[in-house]
Amino acid sequence: MWKNLYALFKKDCRMMASGKFFFVALGSLLLYTVFIHFGYLKFMDSSAGIYNVYLYDPAGTLDGISPFVRLAASREELDEALARDTSGGVGISMTDGRPDVILYRGAEKADRHRVDYALSLLHLDGEYTPEVVGSNTPEMKQRREITCELLFIEIVAVGFLGIASVLFKEKQMGVIRVHVIMPLEKNLFIFSKVMLFLLTDLAFAALMTIFNVGPAEAGIILPAVLIQTAILSLIMALTGFGCTMLLKDFRQFSLAYLAIALFVATPVFLSANTSIKMTWIGWHPFYHVYMGLKNAFFGMPVTSPVYYICAVCAIILLFGIVGAAFSREMGREG
């Protein structure tokens, strides 16, 4: 079995190399790294506050407030600034001599952080102690966040399309049919490809994390990140394999990919990264995988056994479906 697996694996490596897959993956890695270091962090201006904080203090009772606080001349101006603010701004009115926090409601936990952050900028020592929620600097937080997002996109998009491009080539050449009459366990054909994509994705994830989060931080979060990457990579590779077997050509596959991008990835990104709330998102399996990856990047790996049991079951189920689709294709081809 190992001899056959080695032969398949070696051939798959050559197929991927000839299809410039490794070159594309390396190019993506460099592009993402350059973007994070020289584009995203500067664009996001990591020295700025997390939320805009507006203060109306008619009596001028506060001294030594943070430079991040923006002063409003009147209560109306404060209200207008909050209405215009699209990044979760927080207002503080000192009309009664005490800080009265004003904000547009969002998610409950995030609102608490916004309030803590706004009050902490007032330096009200002794009166208020903000809750410590983590040791991330704003820059590190942004690094983790964008690295996680780009890694997710890479695996969902490039890895998924990569396995399809290799398989469609084999389908076109008709060589899948030849494997039917070879003395080898047919599942090894699937296993070899999925393993190759898994290893590539793991290497990509490790390098991406080391380059963009930093070696020291990466050393701490990498095991959890790699576990989540493995789950996502296996699911995507098997889904890509299955779609390739079921669909006629790469054009049909591209349409299927568009559907996946639109209806699967988009709601997950919108729900996890913006203030758009979708009550049903908890039923979306990719939301949990994405959040698992994100939490791993922030050093809070998923501990729920239910999550891992569901992931393993999904992978086994997909492997079974792919196996059946592969058998059907072998009999049909030619």
Partner: protein
Amino acid sequence: MIEVKGLTFSYGKDKQALHGLDFTVEDGEIFGFLGPNGSGKSTTQKILTGILRGYGGRVSLFGEDRNNIHTQDFFQKIGVLFEFPYLYANLSAIDNLHYFSSFYPKEQLREAEELLEELEFKKDFLRRPVSSYSKGMRQRVSMARALISNPKLLFLDEPTSGLDPAGAVLFRRIIEKERQKGTTVFVTTHNMFDADLLCDRVAFLSNGNIVALDTPGNLKEQNSSRSIVVEYVYQGWREERTIEASELKAGIPFACDELISVHSQEPTLEDIFIRYAGRGLS
């Protein structure tokens, strides 16, 4: 080697492909399975090679029921040449053969380069990618792939398709050589010329039924009109006359000055196929 009894197969409720086939193939025999496209040739071959399951009737190979054969042992003993040369286009002939042969035990393998030489493959192309080969060269590499494991049972689907006449002669010689080694050959084709030259016995398949099965010689004899066409010159005129073969016993039964040609009106396999199946092969 192969024993098939009452073989049926359906692709769906209204798509009955095979209607109860019965035939046997002896050890070391070259057996031709002939029929037009859609007659059920490929379906039968797919069942025999284990690609299709869910058939009715009984199929046994190597003396064992197809369903009880351990698949990997079975695949080690067979070689298959597909109608189209399925190869990795980005790999060379040698790399393709090394890759496919890596699934077989080393002791049963033939030397790839020797085999290609036997198939008169151009040496300059050995290490060039298959994408740069002509159809004939690809067919040679495919044949080498089918033979590299020294199979005991060889399935050939349109073996001479894509070959020039010299290539076709070479392939027929190689198939004959395999038979002399004791290999059983199951040829699927609609090329009656190949079948006539190669096969010990042929089965005509039409709409999922075997309509005739015998040696090419017997089929021709049974379907011969036994008439003979004689071309001759008499009193300066060139003439042609058709007579019964029995009339020749006592010599030419008519006056002539010079005989030009004598042709027996033996039907071709294609004529016989049309007679049995009611339609041609193409």
